[in-house]
């Protein structure tokens, strides 16, 4: 009986700065098994992969055993490791573009898989392997550079390179996070068909459920669940797992008038105990009438937004989805008065926003407030949190001294569950998710009529994204008009009242 491809016994990894990457993890993998390692960012997934493949920094301390076949890799020298890496253990990186040396041709990357172990390979063998991966005309195409290929194609090429020596164990580190969702399944299918034992690291529990037999869930370095994948999804034992399931696949928000025939318990995304607004009866806060905005570029004028109309009411969340380049962000800037339309009129509370002047006429200061994709950049890096958070209040006419501002900021943070964060801290010391939550607090504190969010969750992990989505929903429930531009369609649908599709500068109302 040949040894298992992977056996992990009481593995702990402590980094040089004292941080514990993983604590006391144990599990095994059989030949040909597909195992998913799931967890939020920072849960230890990457540390685990690096420990197996031997890519931890020299200052990291490893205890426990990692057996690949019969060999304990934790006690191996670099030379012994080299024998395993690439031949017995395969590795597929997270971002296909980042996996390639930008100065070398694609073919070089593939050939390196053989060259690393001083093996020669015929050109035709390389071509055959690439064709089997679904890359057409491999001989010509591989003479190109990585930046000329698409992400999906690069993923195929690097998967080939990872598996040429038929490793008994292949580690795939978030292979789908950089790909559009359409390609994610294809990419994992490819891995399944080419690898023997496959360890799939992902934050997407649903993906794990579709493609793997077993799942291990990590949280803060510890293993909190280990079960067949279908069981983890259907009957999660741990609260964290349930949260991950919810965050990964948000269910659409019921439309007004539809029967609330959802599963018992709160629908994700809505405040507990509330019912979705029966109809959007709030007053129109901002409306755009046949607006057009174009930019000069490459010698031509390009229409970012073309003859588009839309209105946003208080108390509702309007989602705008669409492919990149469709003009979503420009429309948002027109609605909030950051930019002036070239044609058409934008109304705020019924009055036109622009006259002959260079600045817009908004009903009051702080009428519209923004949420940006880059949470850290949206807060002044030199300002302590209390200053950033309360600035809109001061600007809209409430004089406050320093102590009042600090107290107010503390209260605001506490009201969203961030009471453990000191108001004297700087944005740089917060996580990206925390910064975005602060940005939302800052955006709402002076009671804006409209909150405009441009890709508010694009830089966040699933947990933080779910929290911020809840906050935006809460803002609308509190009376503000909320407009969200996002490419994450599923998430937007889970908390928006209406979702509009934007293509080529035009908005099409979605009917469901």
């Amino acid at each position: 009986m040949s040894a298992r491809p992977l056996t992990i016994e009481h593995l702990s990894v402590t980094y040089g700065n004292g941080f514990r990457g993983v604590s006391d993890i144990s599990f095994t993998m059989d030949h040909g098994e597909r195992l998913a390692v799931v967890g939020a960012s920072g849960s230890g997934k990457s540390t685990l992969v690096r420990a197996i493949i031997g890519l931890l920094p020299p200052t990291a301390v490893v205890t426990g055993r990692i057996l690949v076949g019969d060999d304990d890799v934790t006690v191996m020298s670099d030379r012994e490791r080299r024998r395993l890496d690439g031949r017995v253990i395969g590795y597929v990186a997270q971002d296909p573009f980042a996996a390639f040396d930008p100065l070398r041709r694609v073919r070089h990357h593939v050939r390196e898989a053989w060259a690393a172990h001083e093996r020669t390979v015929s050109e035709s063998d390389i071509d055959i392997g690439l064709e089997r991966m679904g890359i057409p005309e491999p001989n010509q195409r591989t003479r190109q550079r990585p930046h000329q290929w698409s992400g999906g194609m690069l993923q195929r090429a690097t998967t080939l390179a990872a598996t040429v020596h038929d490793p008994i164990l292949t580690l795939a580190d978030e292979p789908t996070s950089a790909l559009d969702t359409e390609f994610a399944d294809i990419a994992v299918e490819l891995l399944r068909s080419t690898c023997s034992a496959l360890l799939l690291v992902t934050h997407d529990l649903a993906l794990a459920g579709r493609h793997t037999e077993n799942t291990v869930v990590l949280h803060e370095g510890r293993m909190i669940e280990q079960a067949p994948s279908s069981m983890v999804l259907a009957r999660p034992r741990h609260e964290i797992t349930r949260a991950l399931i919810r965050a990964a696949s948000p269910t659409p928000r019921p439309t007004p008038g539809s029967t609330l025939g959802s599963t018992p318990g709160s629908t994700p995304g809505s405040t507990p105990g509330s019912t979705p607004a029966v109809d959007a009866s709030g007053s129109i806060v901002v409306s755009a009438d046949n607006v057009t905005k174009s930019y000069a570029g490459h010698g031509r004028r390009m229409h970012a937004v073309y003859d588009t109309s839309l209105e946003v009411r208080s108390g509702e969340v309007v989602g705008i989805i669409g492919p990149s380049g469709s003009g979503k962000s420009t429309l948002l800037r027109l609605l909030t008065g950051i930019e002036r339309p070239d044609g058409g009129v934008v109304f705020a509370d019924g009055t036109p926003m622009w006259d002959s002047g260079a600045t817009p006429n908004l009903p009051r200061k702080g009428f519209a407030m923004p949420i940006f994709q880059d949470p850290v950049g949206s807060l002044d890096t030199r300002w302590p949190l209390w200053r950033s958070i309360t600035e809109p209040l001061v600007l809209s006419g409430t004089p406050m001294n320093r102590r009042e501002r600090r107290d107010r900021a503390e209260a605001a943070l506490a009201s969203v569950g961030m009471h453990d964060i000191g108001v004297d801290r700087l944005p740089g010391s917060l996580s990206v998710g925390q910064c975005q939550r602060v940005a939302v607090v800052r955006g709402l504190i002076a009671g804006p009529a409209i909150l405009a969010a441009d890709e508010p969750t694009a830089s966040l992990d699933v947990e933080a994204a779910a929290v911020v989505s809840d906050m935006l929903r809460g803002a609308a429930d509190g009376g503000a008009a909320v407009v969200v531009v996002s490419h994450d369609e599923a998430r937007v649908r889970s908390y928006a009242d209406r979702v509009l599709l934007m293509r080529n500068g035009c908005v099409q109302e979605e009917t469901r």
Binding site: D95, F97, A98, P102, P146, H147, G151, T336, G337, I338, K365, G366, A368, M369, P370, F372, D374, G377, S378, L379, D380, T381, R382, W383, S388, E391, P392, L395, S396, L426, G428, S429, A439, R442, G443, A446
Partner: protein, 300 residues
């Protein structure tokens, strides 16, 4: 769509590049520098040098007292570093030289900081024709190698301590102005500035609250990093006779004077040589520490 490969860290002696990381709160930045081992040592060394320059000359013998009976005496208890060709005490002259060399550099850096900040912020905020003109001016000044332009201006005005200071000032402001300009220009696109505008902040409030503090911090740090090379440049040109003039005690002129009699009195280079090397060492250590602690990835 490809992720950026890696940032190239321009670690030149000019201290350019990687600058925007210094915009964040400078009080905390200096604290991080002091936690850095090299930064601690460099800062301490710099402080010691400054103290020596200020207090030292008050405690030693007269650096200008000539004693031709005691020319080129070797170091001894009475003359710690020996005497020079005119019998003057080398130790005293070294300390006064510190005052001259370091003081000149500080003077230059102070003026250059003010000019660079002012011009840069003006160009960045005014935009339009003013910005174009000032930017062209910066480009032209920067297009001429520093020492060369300094030579030319000294040639115009004549060699003297003051003229060298003027020359180095004219040469040195452009790089700092570029930094300030870039920071100011980019401000209107920054998300936090847009948010402030939407919340109702007027141009003055944005300028003083968001833009200027960062610009000041940026320029101050950049100019601090260049103190070392400024001291060396000043000493180098004085060495050639184009700056401080005898009998002024200055490290460059002292090294120049020592050339003729180096064979019989090699100890002459100890004082100014060590002084210059320590200055550059302190400056380099602090610059390295600043770069290490303000790496984009280093969040606390």
């Amino acid at each position: 769509m490809s992720s950026t490969l890696f940032r190239s860290s321009l670690v030149g002696r000019h201290g350019s590049g990687a600058a925007e990381g210094w915009v964040a709160a400078d009080g905390r930045l200096w604290r991080r520098v002091l936690r850095h081992r090299g930064g601690r040592f460099g800062t301490a060394l710099g402080v010691v040098l400054a103290l020596v320059a200020v207090i030292g000359p008050l405690l030693t013998a007269d650096p200008n007292l000539t004693d031709y009976t005691n020319k080129l005496a070797s170091p001894s208890g009475e003359h710690l570093l020996g005497t020079d060709l005119a019998g003057r005490d080398f130790f005293a002259r070294t300390l006064v030289g510190a005052q001259t060399s370091l003081g000149a550099a500080l003077l230059v850096m102070a003026i250059v900081t003010v000019i660079g900040l002012g011009v840069g912020v003006l160009a960045g905020s005014a935009g339009g024709a003013i910005d174009t003109v000032l930017n062209r001016l910066m480009d032209v000044v920067l297009g001429i190698p520093g020492l060369v332009l300094t030579l030319a201006i000294v040639g115009m005005l004549g060699p003297s301590f003051l003229n060298l200071v003027i020359a180095m000032t004219v040469t040195g402001w452009a790089g700092l102005a570029k930094l300030a300009r870039a920071h100011t220009r980019g401000a209107s696109q920054r998300p936090d500035v847009i948010a402030a505008r939407m919340a109702g902040a007027g141009p003055l409030r944005i300028a003083f609250g968001h833009v200027l503090p960062g610009a000041v911090s940026l320029v101050l740090v950049a100019s601090t990093l260049r103190i070392g090379e400024t001291v060396v440049a000043f000493a180098g040109l004085s060495f050639l006779g184009l700056g401080a003039q005898p009998p002024t005690a200055e490290w460059g002129t002292m090294l120049s004077e020592s050339r003729m009699t180096l064979a019989i009195a090699p100890f002459q280079i100890i004082g100014p040589g060590v002084g210059l090397m320590l200055t550059v060492l302190a400056s380099t250590l602090v610059a390295d520490a600043l770069r290490d602690v303000s790496e984009p990835g280093s969040r606390q």
